[in-house]
Each structure stands twice: as C-alpha cells, then as structure tokens.
C-alpha cells in the first residue's frame, strides 16, 4: 500500500487554480522533497494531504480519505508547519500533558528525553521561547509520536543555520527508521538535498518532475564546458545554459556522460539548478 496516492488532485480558489490535476504516489519509507516556487501549490497539496482543505479528485493517505477522516488519520500522521503554530500561551509541561492525553501513539518519556537535550524548561511558556526552541519543542513532541507519515511544511523557516542543521540531523538520527515516510517542503533546497530519497517538482499546480534521487542523479548532469568545446557541447541538447564567472554551465537530461566528459568538467547539478532548468526562472 502506498503511503500517499493522488489521482487528478485538483483545487481551485476564486481566482487561481492551486492544484491542476496532480498525480502522485509516495511509497512508505521514503523521504520526499516537494519543491516549487511560491504559489506552485505546495501548501495546498500538503493541506489536502492533511485533511485541512477540501479537494477534487482522488486522494488516499494511509488508505484514508484525509478530508473525511482527518481525526482518524492524525493518529498516524504528524505535521509541523512553520514555527508559529504552537499556542503561545501554552507551557511546555502542558503541551506534554495535552498531547499525552489525546494522542494514542505518543510516548511521553521519549519526548522528555528529547527535551532534556535542549535548554527548554518545562515551566516556560511557548511565547517565552526563541523561534529555534519552539521548533525544538515541536520536533520533540512529534518525534515521540509513533507515526507513519511526517509532513513538514517549511519547518525551519526563520531559524538560524545551527538550528536548521540540528533539526535535520535529529530527524535522521532519532526519527527516521526506514519504515516511516517524511514529506517535506522547503525553500532551503540545498539543505535537504542530501537527505531526500525522492523529489517532486511542482509548478503552477502541476507535477513537472517526480523521481528518486538516484534516478535524478543518473539523469541530470551539469557540464562546466571548456570554452573551445562549447559549440560541441551544445549539440548534446542541453536543457539549460547559464554563465558563471565567464564560463558556461550546461545541464543535460540523459546525455552520454563519457562523451560529455571530454568537453569539460562534469558534476551533479543541484535540485535548484535543475528546477530552474525545467520551469524557467522567476515568472
């Protein structure tokens, strides 16, 4: 059974179409990056998956329809939005008590263990914590839940470098076990690239790329072309070309690496570069 299965997922608002027929299958045990510019429909897609918004088309998350069974689904799905959603009046011990009270799969001792590694005090209110600490608290709560799917929507927005790095480190070391599925959207693509197993590019409500990271790395290659070979390199039909420090960078989709290697320096392109190659720069 797929963790998330979407067929022809559509969502239109008054003036815009946020999701325009999205087909998507996410298997269990994957760490999937949902990448796209502002307004690509990422948040709408996540909201649909979490049962926060109605949609047209077919959508099953852990075999449940999110819109009709949100409360049931949420015992096996966790969700961290950007940092501002923990209630500001709440004290840390109250958050622990409450989640322990209403969540059947929450392991309180585990959450306290995570918190013990931070400088968060149990008597503090959320509003007294720094942004980074609020995220640590939310992550501690979520990691103590034995869930099958974790959805992260810009989880590290507004955090400094150290917190961002620590966030993904503890996610990988303390949470991800190969069975769970993580779906993450972020603008800091370069930070998540190395942890993803799969990537989905979304642009104007449509999926423009959906593949595993191995497939991604096998498919796309970037050539730092030697100036004398530029014309030759262009005959391999690059999907994108740009200038960097006076030299040409070309991105190829499925080109012959051995022959390209004779024309300059090859390397793996970043997700961001391929994204720009596929959908163009800011419109």
């Amino acid at each position: 059974m797929a963790c998330i299965e979407a067929r022809g997922l559509r969502k239109a608002f008054k003036n815009t179409v946020a999701l325009d027929g999205v087909d998507l299958t996410i298997e269990p045990g994957r760490i999937v990056g949902l990448i796209g510019p502002n307004g690509a429909g990422k948040s709408t897609a996540l909201q649909a998956i979490l049962g926060l918004t109605a949609y047209q088309g077919e959508l099953k998350v852990l075999d449940l329809g999110p819109w009709t069974a949100r409360d049931q689904l949420m015992s096996e799905v966790c969700f961290i939005a950007d940092v501002a959603v923990l209630p500001r009046w709440m004290r840390v011990w109250q958050a622990l008590d409450y989640v322990a009270g209403v969540h059947p799969r929450f392991d309180r001792a585990k959450a306290e263990g995570f918190l013990a590694r931070t400088s968060i005090r149990k008597t503090s209110r959320v509003r007294e914590l720094s942004k980074g600490m609020v995220t640590q608290l939310h992550l501690a709560l979520v990691m103590a839940i034995d869930a099958r799917l974790l959805v992260l929507d810009e989880p590290t927005l507004g955090l400094d470098l150290l917190y961002r790095k620590a966030f993904y480190d503890s996610l990988l070391n303390d949470y991800f076990d190969g069975d769970r599925t993580i779906l993450v959207t972020t603008h800091q693509v370069e930070e998540v690239q190395h942890i993803l197993t799969d990537v989905v590019f979304l642009d104007r409500g449509r999926v423009v790329l959906d593949c595993s990271m191995e497939a991604f790395e096998a498919r796309y290659v970037e050539l730092l072309a030697a100036p004398e070979h530029l014309t030759a390199a262009r005959t391999f039909r690059p999907i994108h070309e740009r200038q960097l420090f006076g030299r040409s960078l070309l991105i190829f989709d499925g080109a012959d690496r051995d022959r390209l290697a004779t024309l300059g320096e090859l390397r793996n392109p970043s997700l961001a570069d391929v994204f720009v190659a596929l959908v163009g720069g800011p419109q």
Binding site: A54, S75, A81, V85, P87, D97, V102
Partner: protein, 291 residues
C-alpha cells in the same frame, strides 16, 4: 490501533481550554472572595439584627439572607459574563494565532473540539459557580455563627433565618435549568466565533440588537428585546415558576416542578436551535483556515 476513549479526549480538551482561559475559573473565584470580604465586614451589624429578631421583629429576617443572596448573584453574573466572552473567542482565537494548525494536527475531531468548547459555558461555569457560591456562603455562615456565639446569642436564631440548606439543594437545580435554557445563546456565540474574522461580539449581537432598536422606533414595543433578555437571564425565572411557565414565580420551594420545567416547548425549541448552531460551528471549523 486502539483509539482512546472519547471521555479521555474530552477531558483533556476541556482541560486545555481551562489552561488557556483561566478566567473561567479565576473570575468567579475572585469575585466570590471580594463579595465574601464585603459580607464578612457587614457582620458588625449582625448581633443587633439578631437581637431585634429575638425580640420579634420580622423585617430583619430577610436582611440576614441578603448578604448570601448578593454573593450568589455576584458570582452568577460574573460566570455568565466570562462564559459569554469565552464563547465569543473560543473558535476565533485559534484561527487568529494560527494554533488551529497545531490542534488540527492531533487526532481530535472538529466535533469533539466544538463540543468541548461548548462544555465550558454549559457545564464548567455552572459547576464553578456553584462551588464558589457554596464555599463563600459556608465561610460566611461559619463566621456569622462565631460572631453570634461570641455575642452570647443562640446560633439557632441565625440558622433559622439564614437557612442555606434549601439554597444549596435548589441552587444546583437552578443552575442546571439555567444552563439548559441558555444553551442556544452560547451555541450561537460559538457559531459566530467560528465564522467571524474579527469582532465576533458585534456579529453576535447585531442581528438581535438592530431589529430590537428598529422595533422600538417603529412600534414603540420591545418584543424582540424582551425575548432576548428572557433567553439570557430568564433561566432561573423558568426554574422557579409555577408549572415552569415563567409566568408566576413560586412562593415556596414545594412548588418547584422540575418535570414541568423540562416539558416546556420553549426549552426544547432552544435545544433545537442549540443543536443547529453547534452543527454549523462544527461544519465551519472543519473548513475555516487560519486568518
């Protein structure tokens, strides 16, 4: 996977409401304490009043009860006010501070959430109101008894006129009827709270206040205003009226007729509206996104 019993989820849902809105517990307690201090101070006149009662005066008997009734009324109105403001903000605040996304990330249904919020004005406030009134009156009675004995008067005189046992039996009944009677009011407040982006108090009152004003200007009558006033504050009149019809007040406690009160069509019409309002609030909470 074993789901948690709904009673446990309800318990923690209500508990979290009380963490956030401490005034629901604190305001009646504080007002009760203040009223109690006032009542305790007034006991300097108690010995004189008891002596004139002993001597056969009748009017001081009612005066003895007055402090107790005043404390009860102060706590009751405070509870009503806090419950009203609570209900108006309960479903709006979570959208305003975006904590809605946190609550919705937990396995708690919209129905459970809305019903737990409705339980605050309809169950928690009446219970708190009774507990505070009971405690304040008990302390007042103990102190008054001490003052009476210290002045060499038999406490039997005090106890005969300040007969609180009836009050303590009848008050819970009145609070229950009052809560049932007010159910549509608080359900309406919750519905407006789920719907209004800002100033829910205006949206909650305007649909009634504007017609009431127009009626007053056009016909010089006040049927709408009277209807609203009765719904807001008429619960006790309903509970303690002959045949439960809120037409004539009873003159002794033996006339209380709980079953007749519960059989009133007006009460059931209120339940119907309350159910519709709450269902609409649940529907809205499911669809509303953070402001």
């Amino acid at each position: 996977m074993s789901a948690l019993p709904w009673t446990r989820v309800l318990y923690w849902s209500v508990r979290r409401e009380l963490w956030e809105h401490r005034a629901v517990l604190m305001a009646p307690a504080v007002i009760g304490a203040v009223a109690l201090v006032g009542a305790l101070l007034s006991t300097f006149r108690l010995p004189a009043a008891l002596r004139s009662l002993e001597a056969g005066s009748a009017k001081d008997g009612d005066m003895l009860m007055a402090s107790y009734s005043f404390m009860a009324l102060a706590v009751l109105l405070t509870g009503l006010l806090v419950a009203a403001f609570y209900s108006l903000g309960a479903l709006q605040g979570e959208r305003r501070d975006r904590s809605l996304l946190f609550w919705k990330s937990l396995p708690v249904s919209d129905r459970m959430t809305v019903l737990s919020k409705a339980a605050v004005p309809l169950v928690v406030t009446p219970v708190v109101t009774f507990a505070v009134i009971f405690a304040a009156q008990l302390l007042m009675l103990v102190w008054s008894t001490a003052v009476t004995v210290a002045n060499g008067i038999s406490p039997a005189v005090l106890w005969k006129h300040a007969d609180l046992t009836t009050m303590w039996v009848v008050l819970p009944y009145g609070l229950i009827v009052n809560a049932l009677w007010q159910a549509p009011v608080f359900a309406w407040f919750l519905l407006v709270s789920a719907w209004a982006r800002r100033t829910p108090i205006l949206w909650a009152l305007a649909p009634f206040a504007i017609p009431a004003i127009l009626e007053g200007l056009a016909f010089r009558t006040s049927h709408i205003g009277g209807f609203i006033g009765e719904r807001l504050l008429g619960g006790f009149a309903q509970a303690f009226s002959v045949d439960g019809k809120a037409e004539a007040a009873i003159d002794n406690i033996g006339q209380v007729a709980p079953l007749r009160v519960l059989a009133q069509p007006d009460l059931w019409l209120g339940f119907l509206f309350a159910a519709v309002f709450l269902a609409a609030a649940i529907w809205l909470r499911r669809r509303r996104e953070p402001n």
